[in-house]
């Protein structure tokens, strides 16, 4: 295969083409809107216009450009999302361990794990806000609850995936329970644990943004709804849409990167596949 052909058939290139296709569709829609609408930027602005607004130094509110607003409000939202994500991860992992350690705990709690998924936690955001009285705390709580479920169920699945023979091998070494957890069970559940993290990281961010919309106290969601109400440039809204999409995907990708770092055998695995 020639070099050019190799590049054309590589996955990053194909993905790039698809992104360009999506942008093209967007642009077609935007061009159409431009002709038919009085305020096309409220419905579908050109990508170029959004990009231009990122680099524009026009003040859209008191002494801040659109980009500055996005950055400063992102800080509050993402910080809380991250703290909540951290708490949810720790609790989820510990809960999975506890359920593995005790069959009784598993039997008691497992049905409710399913139930948590059914509860519209995001819908409960206003009430959690009413209980905690603090938007920062409620962001953390909601992000934590949303993170908890995927982490706990996936980790438990990982702990239960250990083959009977591995237990028997450990038994034949007269290994203690603690050793079995440390050397076998916990390393085995790591890939599953990260699957949970990849699902929950964007969810934590989504939740945090939604909580923002409830109270005019800064944060991405707050700016998003203010911008929609035309309290400031509509481009703040568009920037936030793209920014949150980007951060959501990035958070998930980041979990994958961390996974590769902590489990070198996965890197080796990939190298081998490439060789074949």
């Amino acid at each position: 295969m020639s070099k050019a052909k190799k590049i054309v058939s590589s996955k990053p290139f194909i993905m790039l083409v698809w992104v360009l296709v999506l942008v093209a569709i967007w642009e077609m829609g935007a061009a159409n809107m431009e002709k038919t609408k009085r305020t096309p930027e409220n419905v579908l602005p050109h990508v170029s216009q959004i990009v231009a607004s990122v680099f524009s130094d026009k003040m859209v509110s008191n002494s801040q450009t659109a980009t500055q607003i996005v950055w400063s409000s992102a800080e509050a939202t993402l910080e809380r999302a991250f703290i909540g994500f951290l708490f949810g991860t720790i609790f989820g992992f510990l809960m999975a361990l506890l359920m593995k350690l005790s069959g009784l705990v598993e039997k008691t709690i497992f049905p409710y794990l399913m139930l948590i998924q059914m509860i519209p936690i995001i819908g409960m955001a206003p009430i959690i806000l009413a209980i905690t009285h603090d938007i920062g705390t409620s962001r953390i709580v909601i992000a934590a609850i949303l993170t908890f479920y995927p982490v706990a169920t996936n980790t438990l699945a990982g702990l239960n995936s250990v083959s009977k023979e591995k237990y028997e091998l450990m038994y034949s070494y007269a290994a203690s329970k603690w050793t079995i957890y440390r050397k076998v069970l916990i390393p085995s559940c790591i890939p599953y644990f990260f699957t949970g993290l990849k699902i929950s990281a964007p969810m934590a961010i989504t939740a945090s943004i939604l909580v923002d919309t409830l109270q005019g106290d800064g944060g991405l969601g707050c700016m998003l709804s203010q911008s929609l109400k035309h309290a400031m440039s509509i481009y703040v809204f568009w920037q936030i849409v793209f920014f949150s999409a980007f951060v959501g995907i990035l958070s998930s990708v980041l979990m994958g990167v961390i996974e590769k770092r902590v489990s070198p055998h996965m890197r080796a695995d990939r190298k081998r596949r490439k060789k074949v």
């Binding site: 085995s188 489990s263 055998h265 695995d269």
Partner: protein, 268 residues
């Protein structure tokens, strides 16, 4: 039969003594199924014993009662005068399963070191022993590879290195080569015999392959199913070290025939 065994006990030190071991399970309809019926067997130190039989004859069950993975319904197993549990707690068993049972997040070398970590060997000793074992199975070059990067035969070699690495008194092997192709199997047979000669452990080797049993072992214990019982013990007096050429000898063929004819019920 049992008298014959008793006679030999006097000559050499008996390590494993299996007395009247019975094992019954309940099947799905809660009927009693006899997996083992009054097994009597004495295994000497340093012997290579094959437990041979068709599936369902209880050979794996017998191995598991020796390994303390199962408790017999009645009868007893004694190893150097102790219960299997005591021996297990002293970490004197090496086990090799049909699957290599490697830990995919550990390198080959780290896999061999795993039981040594559990046994609190020092880091330096661990590394030395792992290197030695990997050299014995010819995997020195692959020490830093991960299990998934190895072929099935190589993976099983790692399993063998790990089992011998802990310097066990007794090595229990449960159909370790049955998933491998014939060529790999023959190579591993010779490797196994080489390590066995160098370390001089007692090996109990479960298999359903008659040639394999005859080629490897000092004694072939033939088990028959329904109920699982010991129907014969065939002494293999082929000279050691054994070589692949012996498989074509008349003596070998005769021994294989003898083992085959000793199955009761002729259901083979």
């Amino acid at each position: 039969m049992s008298e014959m065994i008793k006679e030999r006990e006097v000559e050499r030190e008996v390590e494993i003594k299996i007395d009247d071991v019975c094992m019954s399970f309940k099947d799905n309809n809660s009927n009693d199924v006899q997996a083992l019926n009054r097994i009597n067997l004495a295994i000497k130190k340093g012997e290579f014993i094959a437990l041979l039989g068709p599936s369902g004859c209880g050979k794996t069950t017998l191995l598991r009662t020796i390994a303390d993975l199962l408790e017999p319904t009645s009868g007893k197993v004694r190893i150097s005068g102790m219960t299997p549990k005591e021996i297990r707690l002293q970490q004197k068993f090496g086990i090799v399963f049909q699957n290599p049972v490697l830990f995919e997040w550990r390198t080959v070398k780290k896999n061999v070191e795993l039981p040594l970590e559990i046994m609190y060997w020092s880091k330096v000793e661990r590394k030395k022993q792992a290197d030695r074992m990997l050299e014995l199975v010819g995997l020195t070059k692959f020490a830093d590879h991960y299990p998934k990067q190895l072929s099935g035969g190589m993976q099983q070699r790692v399993g063998i290195a790990r089992a011998f690495g802990i310097k066990p008194n007794i090595l229990l092997m449960d159909e370790p080569f049955s998933a491998l192709d014939e060529f790999t199997k023959e190579k591993l047979h010779d490797d196994l015999l080489k390590i066995w000669r160098e370390t001089n452990k007692t090996v109990i080797f479960v298999t359903h392959n008659i040639q394999e049993a005859v080629y490897l072992s000092d004694k072939v214990c033939v088990l028959s199913p329904h109920p699982g019982r010991l129907s014969a013990v065939v002494e293999i007096d082929l000279p050691r070290p054994r070589t692949i050429g012996m498989k074509d000898s008349i003596q070998f063929t005769e021994l294989v025939a003898k083992v085959r004819n000793s199955f009761e019920g002729g259901s083979l």
